[in-house]
Amino acid sequence: MNLRLSLPALLLALLLPLSLFAKCPITPNGRLVVRAPAGNLQVDTTGTDSVDIEVSNRQVTVQETCRKETVDISATAPASIGIPDWKIRVPKGVTLDLSTQAGTIQIADTDAEALLRTSGGKVTAGNIRGNMLIVGTEVRTGNIGGNAEVRGLGGRIQLGDIGGNAEFKTEGGDITAGLVKGHVKAQLGSGSFIIRESNGDVVVTTEAGDIKSDYIRGSFDGKTDSGNIRIERAGSWVKAVTNVGDIFFRLSPANYTGDLHVTAEATLGNITMYVPKAMKATIDAVIEKPPLNGKSRIFSDFALKGTGAIKGLLPGGPDRQGATVNGGGNNIKVRTSSGTINIFSLE
């Protein structure tokens, strides 16, 4: 008798912490919206015609609104259960709009857009064919077909190639990305910023850390308070500013008719640039505090002439040199308080 009574209770007790399932039909190009109170969201994109959700703890109350084009999932859960795992399976073409108040987000390759937000936890994604928005601590993705926007709460951000524009805003942590086909805008509280290439313009500011790229075809506007700036090839105008650090870049424009002005400023650091021999340029290079006993620290393949009125008479005064190349034109303003300036010509 006792056994008969206690068996259902025992079964219920055993089932309670086990998984919870939900299922909704969805069109292949539909949209999944998940608003999880807390949960590690793992998305598998091998589904065919439905959204399948499995939550690792039955104390989570899931509410689903199933429509043909959109499936909305929201949930409530007692805080005491910690962070349950959510396993979600969707067709590959479904747009993913996922938010969790706490937890990691992990998605496989998708052919659609992905909007992934967590207030704490890593975000990992495969290749995303559409646009992407990610908010998280550490972020790692494959290639992005569309635009990419990342808001980092603190932690490393690593992205593959990006088919559209890229925008980054982070409190701290390094950012690396592959080839960006559009424009790039990045604002880092601190950390290094490294992109392999950009076809568009690049604007980067960081309070501390290096800024590096192999090739920026558009304009470059970069500022770091403490770090080096190194652009192997720059296709358009350049503005590079650092307080403490070196600046290096090679101007490599596709045509010489566009705006190719240069502003390079370092408070404490060396500046090295390569300028095409055929480019029209008006060079103005200044070392504000050259070595007291040394020779000029401005080196150039172009025939620079001292332009400072007092150079040579008062040791330690500014060392200023300039040149007009090919009749002059694009202003090349290079300034360091203390360091070396190298302006070399490129064939």
């Binding site: 701290g172 501390a208 770091t224 006993n293 040394g294 040579g312």
Partner: protein
Amino acid sequence: MSCQEYQRQIVLSLYEELNDVERAGLETHLTECTGCRQAFEEHQVFSSALADDKAAWELPSDLLVESRRALADQLDRIETKRSWWRMPAFSVVFTPMRMLESATLIALGLAFGVYISNHQLSPQRPAGDALATATLTAVPQNSLVSNVRIVNTDSNTATVEFTGDVVQPLRFTGRLEDDTTRQLLFSALQDSMNPGSRMQAVEVLARKSSEPSVKEVLIHALLNDENLSVRLKAFEGLKPFAGDDDVRAAFMEALMKDKNDGVRVLVVDALAPFTKSEAMANSIEAVTRNDDNTYVRLKGQGLVHSVGAQR
């Protein structure tokens, strides 16, 4: 000319650095001297091997810059050594160096005048020669002088006392195991004005984070550096040792006091695999109980549950 001199010319000839007369002289000598001809052929083979191989080389892009800088430094040194005794040559070209020389001569003349005049007025003047030497040697070659202040002047002796800072460029390459390298890295970590340098120092030191002194430095950076990226890099270096008592204690402190959500999230994640005992889980839960970040808070609670469930 001796064979030794001809052989020196061989190298120059391969780089087309000889004038016509020298080249003709060398060619004549090569037809007559077997030893030099052999040396020429060897150089030629070496030179063409270098040329063939050139495409495969990846020269550092800074090589030219560095070479020029080193050359300039050497020239400066030579210039300084020479300028002590060399009289300036008469020339109609007024280069900056010549103008500097002229200015120096004028200044020396004035100084000499002052010296003579003081010497005549006051036979017991202080050691002016020693002072002059001290002044000249006080500013090393290529150094920067900043914050120059005159702290004392004495009109009787015509002396001026300066204070200031002299900064000299430093370029040093060393292995991470070397004391000097390590001391320089530690020093870079103390540079409060240069967080970029601190980040790089931490990143490099993190490769040796198993060593106690390095670990200690990284812990200090994690807990005290005001720059978030420096703390994140210090964390990355320490993460593999999250099971060690000292690192765990540091992580607990970071969990308690770091203002950045990202750091606390990473730290609580790093502590999780090493939280085996109930006491440890409880202490993490206590630290994270009132955390603003939901993930950190729930993760702390979750650890208590998971340790309890394992029992």
